[in-house]
Amino acid sequence: MNKQELTAMVAEILGQMGLPEPMVKGSDYKPANPGPEQKENGFREGDFVPDVTALDLRKLYLQENAADKEGFARLKAKTPARLGSGRAGPRYKTLTMLRFRADHAAAQDAVFSQVSEDFGSKNDLIPLKTRCKDKEEYLTRPDLGRILDEESEKKLKSAVSAAPRVQIVVGDGLSSAAIQANAMDCMAAIRDGLKARGIDTGKAVFVRYCRVGAGDAVGDVTGCELVCVLVGERPGLVTDKSMSAYITYKPHTGVSESARTVVSNIHAQGTPAVEAGAHIAELIETILRKRVSGVGLHLEGAK
C-alpha cells in the first residue's frame, strides 16, 4: 500500500466515524461539519477552556454521588482547602490538577515578576533599590536584600531633611502582586490614621528587591523613630497577594528580629488593606507611646 492509498483509507475510516476529514497540508483547517455541540461542558473544538482560577474553591465540590452534598458544601464554605475533590481512578480529576498547577504558577509568578517600573514615581514614593542586581540574586542572597545600594543611599539622604518620626517603606519582597494590590490603599489608611493622631510621616520610599531588614537600613539613613515596612509575603496556594507590615521601633542595622511587631495576612480575603492600615496606625501610636515594639510590646501589654 503506497502513501496515497494509506491517506485515502484513513480518510475513509475517519469519514465513517463521522469525524471531519484530516487536515490538508498547507491549507487552513476548516471542518466542513463541526459536528454536534458537546452538551456536557458546552465547548466546541477550538474554544478556550474556562479560566480554572476563576472558580471559588470554597464552593467547588467535585465528589460524585455524595451522601450529603449540601452538608459538605456548608463545611467547605469555611475553608479554602482543596477538599472534596473526588478522583479519577487513583488520581486527581483534571480540574483539580489544573487548578493546583495554576495556583502554583501564580505563586511562582508573584515571586519572579517585578513591581512595575514607574510604581515609585506614580505613587509619589522615593524609588530605591537594595544591593541585589536582579531577582535571582535577591532570592539567593538575603543579606544583600537588607542593604541599600550606594546610589539609593545618596538619593535618600538628599531627599530627607529632618528625621521623620515615622518612616513608611514599601518593599516588593516575595510578592510583587501583593504590593500592587494592597500597599497604596493600606498606606493611605496608615497616613490618615497617623494624621488624625497628630503623628507626622516623612515621604515614603519604595525599595526594589527588598527584605524586611532593608527598613533598618532606611532607619540608619533617615534617623526615623519608627519604621513600618509593607512587604509582599511569600505567596501560597490560597493567595499570591498577601502583604505584611513589619513595625520596628528605633530601627538600625543589626536590630534584633524580636523587636519587630508584625501584622500579616493583609489581602482581600484576609484583613482588607484599608482596615489593616487603620489598625497599623493605632499600633504605631501605641508603640511610639510605649517606646518599644515586638516581643517587648507584648511583655509591656502583659504587665
Binding site: A189, G193, V262, V263, S264, T271, A278
Partner: protein, 459 residues
C-alpha cells in the same frame, strides 16, 4: 488572654419570671501576628433561679416591687452584686408585654441601672432568644436542617424559622397554656380574650378534660398551620398577635419542629390535667398526638427556661475587632437604625450628605446609620464615604454600623473631617435591619459588645 463577661438574663413572662446568670468567654481567635479577631467562644450557664409565678397586681399588671424582690433574692443566691454584671437583658414577654408593665419593671429595677445593657420587649426578639436558648439554631447549623422552633409559653407561642443556623423569620401566636385557668375546685377563673369567638368556655364554669380538649385541639391546629402541616384557615389569622405583624408564612418543605416553653414539658411527659390549673397538660397531649410530632421533632435543650437562657447567653454579640470610637460615653442605648442602601452608599459625597441629612433630621433622637459597606475597598472609596457621611451629620454624633470589615478606616477618615470633639462610633460585622434598635456596651478588648433589638420602649 480570655476575657470573661458576666451576663444576666431576666424574663418576666405572662406566667413565670426567671433569672439566669451566665458567663461569656471572649477570646482572640486570630494568631498574634494578625489583626485581632475577638469572638464569644463560650456561653456558660452559671446559675438558674427557680421559676417564679410572675407577681401581678390584678389581671395582667406586673407588680414591679415583686420583681425587684425576686431579683435581689436571686442575686444574693447567685452570689453576685450589681457591680459584677457586665451585660444582660430584661425581657418582658407575652401578654404581659404591655407598655405600663414594662415601665413598672424598669422603674423597679432602676436601682440596678447600668448593669442591664438592655431593657426590652417584643415577640421578634423573644422568638430569636427562645430559639437560641433552646439550642434550635445550633441544631440547625450542625445538621443543616430547616427547623421551626416553637416556644409555647403561658400566653403566646413564639415561632422562629431557622435555616443553617440563621433565623429567617419569626411570628407570634396567641397559643399558650394559660389562656384558660381554673382554681382548685376546677372552676374556670380566666379565659383569655384571645379565645373570644373560638370557644364557649366562660368564667365560673367547671373545667373538665372534655370541655378543655376542643380548645387545645384548635390551638394545636393553628400551630400545625404555621408549620405548613395543615391547610391555613382564618383560625391562624385570628390567633396571630397584633404586635408580631404578619401572619406566619408556613415553610414550603417539611421542617424539623422544635419545642420549648412550659408547654413543651407536657409533650413527652404525661401530667395530670389538673397539675397547673390551666390548659397546659392537655395542650401538650394534643401536640404530641398532632401532625407536629409525626415527623422529626425535638424538645429543646432547655424548655421552660429557653427564653431566659437566650436572654442571658445570646442577647449580646460582638462587633468586629477593628472599630473606631472617640469622644463617646458608653454604653449607648436604644439607637434607632437609619438605613443606607448599597446603591445609596455609592452616591457622590454631596448627594450622600444630603440624603443622610434628610434621613437623620426625621429622627427625634440620635440614630445609628447602617450601611452594607464595601468588601476590601480601595481607600478612595473609604474617603468618599467618610466625606458623604460627615457632610450629612450636621453636628450630630456619628454612629455608624457596617456589614463589611472597614469600620476603623472609615472612622478615622471621618475623624479627619469632623471637629476634634465630635463623637464617633464606627462598628462593623453588623447587619442591622430597618426598625431595629442598637445598644452599644463598653469595649471588650478592641471589640464592642452590642445588642440588636426590635422593639424599644418609649423614653
Amino acid at each position: 488572654m480570655a476575657e470573661r463577661l458576666c451576663s444576666v438574663g431576666l424574663d418576666v413572662g405572662t406566667t413565670s419570671t426567671q433569672l439566669v446568670v451566665s458567663e461569656l468567654t471572649v477570646e482572640n481567635q486570630a494568631s498574634s501576628f494578625a489583626v485581632p479577631q475577638l469572638q464569644i467562644t463560650q456561653r456558660q450557664l452559671r446559675y438558674q433561679s427557680e421559676v417564679y409565678f410572675t407577681p401581678l397586681i390584678g389581671e395582667g399588671l406586673v407588680d414591679g416591687a415583686g420583681i425587684r424582690e425576686i431579683v435581689e433574692k436571686e442575686y444574693a443566691r447567685a452570689g453576685i452584686c450589681p457591680g459584677d454584671v457586665d451585660t444582660g437583658a430584661v425581657i418582658i414577654t407575652g401578654e404581659t408585654s404591655r407598655r405600663e408593665n414594662a415601665r413598672q419593671v424598669l422603674d423597679a429595677l432602676s436601682a440596678f441601672a447600668g448593669e442591664f445593657v438592655v431593657a426590652t420587649a417584643g415577640p421578634h426578639l423573644e422568638s430569636v432568644l427562645a430559639a437560641k436558648g433552646a439550642g434550635a439554631t445550633d441544631f440547625s447549623e450542625k445538621t443543616g436542617k430547616q427547623v421551626l422552633h416553637m416556644d409555647i409559653g403561658g400566653g403566646t407561642s413564639n415561632l422562629a424559622l431557622i435555616e443553617n443556623g440563621n433565623i429567617m423569620s419569626t411570628a407570634c401566636l396567641n397559643v399558650g397554656g394559660r389562656l384558660v385557668k381554673f382554681d382548685e375546685q376546677d372552676r374556670i377563673t380566666y379565659v383569655s380574650p384571645a379565645l373570644k369567638e373560638l370557644c364557649k368556655l366562660t368564667v365560673g364554669q367547671i373545667a373538665t378534660p372534655e370541655a378543655l380538649r376542643p380548645v387545645a385541639k384548635l390551638l394545636t391546629e393553628a400551630l400545625e398551620m404555621a408549620a405548613g402541616l395543615r391547610e391555613v384557615t382564618s383560625l391562624l389569622e385570628k390567633l396571630n398577635t397584633r404586635e408580631a405583624g404578619d401572619v406566619p408564612k408556613p415553610p414550603a418543605e417539611r421542617v424539623v419542629v422544635s419545642f420549648s416553653g412550659g408547654v413543651a414539658d407536657c409533650i413527652e411527659t404525661t401530667r395530670g390535667w389538673r397539675s397547673f390549673g390551666d390548659l397546659g397538660p392537655i395542650l401538650g397531649e394534643e401536640i404530641r398526638k398532632s401532625r407536629l410530632c409525626q415527623g422529626q421533632y425535638r424538645l429543646g435543650d432547655h424548655t421552660i427556661r429557653a427564653t431566659v437562657i437566650g436572654a442571658g447567653c445570646h442577647s449580646v454579640r460582638l462587633s468586629g475587632s477593628t472599630v473606631f470610637c472617640r469622644n463617646v460615653r458608653l454604653p449607648l442605648k436604644n439607637l434607632p437604625v437609619v438605613q443606607v442602601t448599597s446603591a445609596e452608599q455609592e452616591l457622590t459625597p454631596e448627594e450622600l450628605g444630603n440624603l443622610v441629612e434628610s434621613r437623620l433630621s426625621q429622627q427625634d433622637t440620635d440614630s445609628v446609620l447602617a450601611l452594607p459597606g464595601f468588601s476590601s475597598p480601595g481607600y478612595h472609596r473609604v474617603v468618599a464615604l467618610a466625606e458623604g457621611l460627615s457632610r450629612g451629620l450636621g453636628g450630630r454624633p456619628a454612629y455608624v454600623a457596617l456589614e463589611q470589615d472597614m469600620a476603623k478606616a472609615l472612622g478615622q477618615a471621618m475623624a479627619l473631617r469632623l471637629p476634634k470633639e465630635a463623637g464617633i462610633v464606627c462598628l462593623d460585622s453588623l447587619k442591622l435591619s430597618p426598625g431595629s434598635y442598637l445598644d452599644i456596651g463598653e469595649p471588650v478588648g478592641p471589640a464592642l459588645p452590642v445588642v440588636i433589638k426590635t422593639l424599644v420602649l418609649q423614653q
